[in-house]
Subunit: 243 residues, 2 copies
Amino acid sequence: MPQLKAILFDIDDTLFSTTEFAHKARRNAVRAMLQAGLDLPEAVVERELEEVLAEFSSNYEHHFDKLLMRLRPPSLARVNPALIVAAGVAAYHDTKFRELVPFDDVLPLLGALRKAGLRLGVITHGWTVKQAEKLVRLGLVPFLEPSAVFISDQIGISKPNPKLWTLALADMPLLPQEAMYVGDSPEHDIAPPRTLGMITVWAARAAKHGLDGTAIQPDHTVHDFRELAAILRERYGVRLDPF
Amino acid sequence: MPQLKAILFDIDDTLFSTTEFAHKARRNAVRAMLQAGLDLPEAVVERELEEVLAEFSSNYEHHFDKLLMRLRPPSLARVNPALIVAAGVAAYHDTKFRELVPFDDVLPLLGALRKAGLRLGVITHGWTVKQAEKLVRLGLVPFLEPSAVFISDQIGISKPNPKLWTLALADMPLLPQEAMYVGDSPEHDIAPPRTLGMITVWAARAAKHGLDGTAIQPDHTVHDFRELAAILRERYGVRLDPF
């Protein structure tokens, strides 16, 4: 078996709980808007915001504008809507500032992997500056090879197209068997690199979709990164410090 | 003389030092980009960023993209530029979070004015969500009449067009002589409301341009808001608590 040389990670719901963070950020934004004068029940505003987010793509400032357009709250006769939108935007940003943190075993794992001589990178789907900002705020950049950050929006190839992984392998350069990919979505993170012959790890702890009813078979399934460390030690001969 | 009923304020360089804040935010962003791998001298990057800001309007994420396009640093062969841009964006936002504070006599003045029964508002020029976010982050919203926040971008009338003040007076509603306007720019903040017969106060402490060589004559000139408080007590009979 060729030696494992590199591990590439998905970001969302793999390195941090995107779902939990998004929920906190939305809740804080909605509460700030209520405090700024939006006079509707919190649950009504939250539900409508979820609809906006489902219908329109990622520019949250416009999301809050659209939310007010849709809700047409009575308060708009008395409060400049920009003050309500701005309260939401500020609360959203402040949540990022305070609460964007990786799962607690991420930094220890990445530190140990670097020390063991493995090359580390990211292959992620999303809007360039948002995905990059997540890496910055999560404190992950110092562990990554600064040219091994592959963002679909920047490359023009979207998950689950396997060409995204092909391009990363060619750039680094690596053989598929020398590289492991870790992600939470069977369809978007496991199936495509598996077709190329990469080693695939399904990070199940925050996964929205399971493997049942799919034909997708990851090489490994882990529920936290201590489990991943054990696999790397036992199956791939990686000399990982305990953490 | 009719009774003074309301005071309306400009925001930038009147309620906080926009210039000092912008300098800090830019410096922090540039330093974060250097730390993220941008391998050029700090002074070169700062100078280029100032040029970008002078040439393109307010969307800082794109500013940092453009900065990298122009600088073409050697590091881009080794570092994904999105990581450098995101480091700048995050540092810029974090500076807002930590350092957007009003001049130290602003909150005491506004508190005393509210207690004295004066109506308070804002007439400001700029991008809607940015100006509103400044009010939120500066902590000024609780002191203002929530419908007396007039933002040029939202209204479709730009400073120094006096119609911006006419519209505010009509909305509140107030006679010109019942309302005072406080701002730092002779041309943008003093001349237009003065033509309508409003009481004008030139806040000189952070003003970029003086009165010399202009025919503009504010009703009052103040260097801080204790001076303004004294004028309000002595000349307008406002019963202001000391602060």
